[in-house]
Symmetry: C2
């Protein structure tokens, strides 16, 4: 694409982007589409000749935009929101243009050193001590995999070199997390060769928080069985109910047992940017590693996960490989080669969008928006609490409310499950809001997770209105 053509095209696309964001609220958050209905809209064979950009962009508006789940919509309350903020999008535009690959210092000096700067800015914003260094990865799945990979290596069996097989002397390795911990922890165990069975699911209490006594008992039982504990994962803000594990008590146990403590705060971690809201994080400064995802509640376009750690050397021991073609004259100098800390070699320049965002919002601006979301969720929780026909199913430490319809007149558990499933489906069909669910204590639970940058009080109010209307309507 010739430079003048690219300039014209970039301006045309800039308008498409602005149009989309300007009108996203007019769309159905989750459009009515059946699986398998979209692929047939595209030619089954690839195009042989070039097509004009105008045709492609027309198709983009016709085929792509209407068939997206609109994560940018202010009525997006499902899962945990990922908003791509304006300044974050500008950052992605520049990232794509520069084409950096900060796998080595040499392949992107600025990509490497700006990552150092931004990681340290985020560490300070979160109130963590200087002993934490870190890096940016694609997702929390990768961040936690790296943390547990480092824990596996730090266990002292030199797994990076010798592996886990053909070593009959090697005990079974064990990782501990609550029953509420995220699937990414279990998947990391699968990927790392520990297996799902290596993840000991420690019971949570009635507030869905890991029980330290049960953790200690599980570790002791495994030790008695000849197994070898290597890591504990504490979660601050679990995915189902956003519950908070007692990190300080867990840190005590980890220290006593000599275990790697990884804190998964992919969703809620950004709340630590508000000094007055740091109570749930007490003790996380004693963790060996912490994951917080800017691409969740820090309004950063996918992908950007922050992995902080006090043990960078252990990460490198677990993941470093330097073949000849990656050796550089700079290796005697302090230039950092981030690929030595990750399962992937190639890396995107993720620091740029974060640098732009942090400056555009300022920490104050980010705090204000997060605080606004906390307030919206608290308000919604009050509405649920105040209505005798609705029931809140978990505490609301952050911006997510777990609840269900449960009429004062009474209903069986199976009826409640069926009706709440129908209520959620009915609300989602309106296209005005998008909710997702979980199960807590076996009960079908509707989740309303506030986190979209565009969400205002009126959107949360509308969700509540739609939910109550769904109860009254026939189709729920």
């Amino acid at each position: 694409m010739d430079p003048p053509d690219f300039r014209a095209a970039a301006h045309a696309v800039a308008d498409l982007m602005a149009d989309y964001l300007e009108t996203v609220e007019t769309r159905a958050v989750f459009p009515v589409i059946e699986p398998g209905s979209l692929a047939p809209l595209f030619p089954s064979t690839p195009p042989e000749g070039p097509e004009p950009l105008a045709t492609i962009l027309t198709d983009y508006q016709r085929l792509i935009e209407p068939n997206a789940t609109h994560w940018q919509h202010p009525g997006f309350f499902a899962y945990f929101a990922t908003t791509a903020s304006g300044p974050g999008i500008l950052g992605e535009m520049l990232t794509a243009t520069l084409g950096q690959n900060p796998m080595l210092w040499r392949t992107s000096p600025i990509g490497t050193e700006l990552e150092e700067v931004v990681v340290d800015w985020l560490r300070q914003a979160l109130g963590l001590p200087e002993s934490f260094d870190g890096l940016l990865t694609d997702t929390a799945s990768t961040s936690s995999l790296i943390a547990l990979g480092a824990a596996r290596q730090a266990a002292g069996f030199d797994v990076a070199a010798r592996g886990l097989t053909g070593r009959p002397d090697l005990p079974a390795l064990r990782v501990y997390a609550s029953t509420e911990a995220h699937s990414s922890i279990e998947k990391a165990c699968m990927t790392l060769g520990l297996g799902r069975d290596a993840l000991v699911r420690v019971p949570a209490d009635a507030r869905f928080q890991l029980q330290p006594d049960a953790l200690e008992a599980a570790i002791a039982a495994d030790r008695a069985a000849g197994h070898r504990a290597i890591a504990i994962v504490a979660t601050v803000g679990t995915t189902s109910s956003t519950s908070v594990d007692p990190v300080a008590a867990i840190a005590e146990i980890a220290q006593r047992e000599g275990l790697w403590l990884h804190v998964d705060s992919a969703y809620a971690g950004v709340v630590a940017m508000l000094p007055e809201r740091r109570a749930p994080f007490a003790g996380w400064e004693r963790a060996d590693s912490i994951v917080v995802n800017p691409h969740k509640w820090l309004f950063t376009p996918l992908d950007a996960s922050l992995l902080l750690t006090r043990r960078m050397t252990d990460l490198r021991d677990a993941f470093s490989l330097v073949p000849e073609y990656l050796r550089t004259p700079d290796r005697e100098t302090p230039g950092r080669d981030y690929n030595e800390y990750t399962p992937q070699l190639g890396r995107r320049f993720r620091a740029l969008k974060l640098w732009i965002q942090l400056r555009w919002f300022g920490l104050g601006g980010l705090r204000r928006r997060i605080d606004h979301h906390l307030g919206l969720a608290a308000e919604f929780a009050r509405w649920v609490d105040d209505d005798p026909d609705w029931e809140r199913l978990a505490p609301v430490p952050f911006s997510t409310v777990c609840f269900r319809w449960n009429p004062a007149s009474g209903a069986s558990e199976s009826e409640l499950d069926a009706r709440n499933t129908a209520i959620m489906a009915s609300v989602n069909r309106t296209g005005e809001v998008f909710l997702s669910h979980t199960r807590l204590d076996g009960r079908f639970t509707i989740r309303l997770a506030v986190g979209n940058l565009r969400t205002e009080s009126r959107h949360v109010a509308r969700a509540w209105e739609l939910l109550r209307a769904a109860v009254r309507s026939d189709d729920a």
Copy 2:
């Protein structure tokens, strides 16, 4: 950022992007910077208040652009090129704006189904049979990790559930690849808990191609030792010399031994889009999995790696986990949830940029550009061959030439290593081109890898001129 502000900002950034691409050739490909000199240019603490976008963009031009390694420069001949093409960048702009996360069909119907379409278009373009399905990942490292993870699972020990530890009955697992295979294969073995030692490095011949006899012998020896072979990795286009393993012969062995065959063609795979150049790929249609990176020689912005496989079910067995909060009413329907095939849960919408690119270039346009690069490398190789003071150190099956200065008057190996190191450094200091090196048979080898979309004959000619000038100058 309000919609009108975003529109204005996106246009301002569009101009910055176009300006950069218009002038990238005037920059030093690899700027003269010392490691550690950039981080101090930024404030050591994060900004508290918001800053105007104009200030941030001015800093972008002042601090970011000049300190990048310019992968977009036509003189970029190092490693393997990654060009972000114009249409690819437009795709990234729209991807960032839509904020899709195609982890589930439900979280992005179009992200999921367009991925199916584009993966199949690429399969057809590469001339592979319909039995291949696949997905897009971030990097070849992840693609190969997934392939080997599936091979580990397919070996029959249910490693996903039971893991590799605490099972004294489990034999040592083994993976085979040539001495020239990429570090990502070794890293996948580390990550997967097989360990570096599990990767048996089969000797290559004088052309740096894996020797099938040696492979068979290695497998037999391991079997005799009680080890269990699980996979063979064949490379078409190795990283050092772009050598081509004899895939057909290796496929025979894999079939006979019942081993997973993974073909790493991350760099060279796109050459299979040229039907007349498919000879090096003969037999790859028998592979269980193949990786080809659009973000290398298909001009796609980082990140985009294509993993094709005939065994999607094995991938899913190795990586699927479906917690309650990811279960959806659609699970009874044919909607595909791509996260079940990957170590990561969150996923970028990578299909969009590929869809735009494939249509904008057309397969014909892509073939023409790849063919042009093949021609440029062949021309450079001829210059080296025709000059008595230079020596080519490997065949040139694709677009990469391995060579060194080796004067007709003779020189010792240690002198040659020192002089060629100095020659490369001297050429790189000019900023006009950027070369990297490897070692072949222990010799310091300069690599010229053609792959940037903007590279023309004059850039390759200039590289040759600079190399010869460096020999004459004092500083080399």
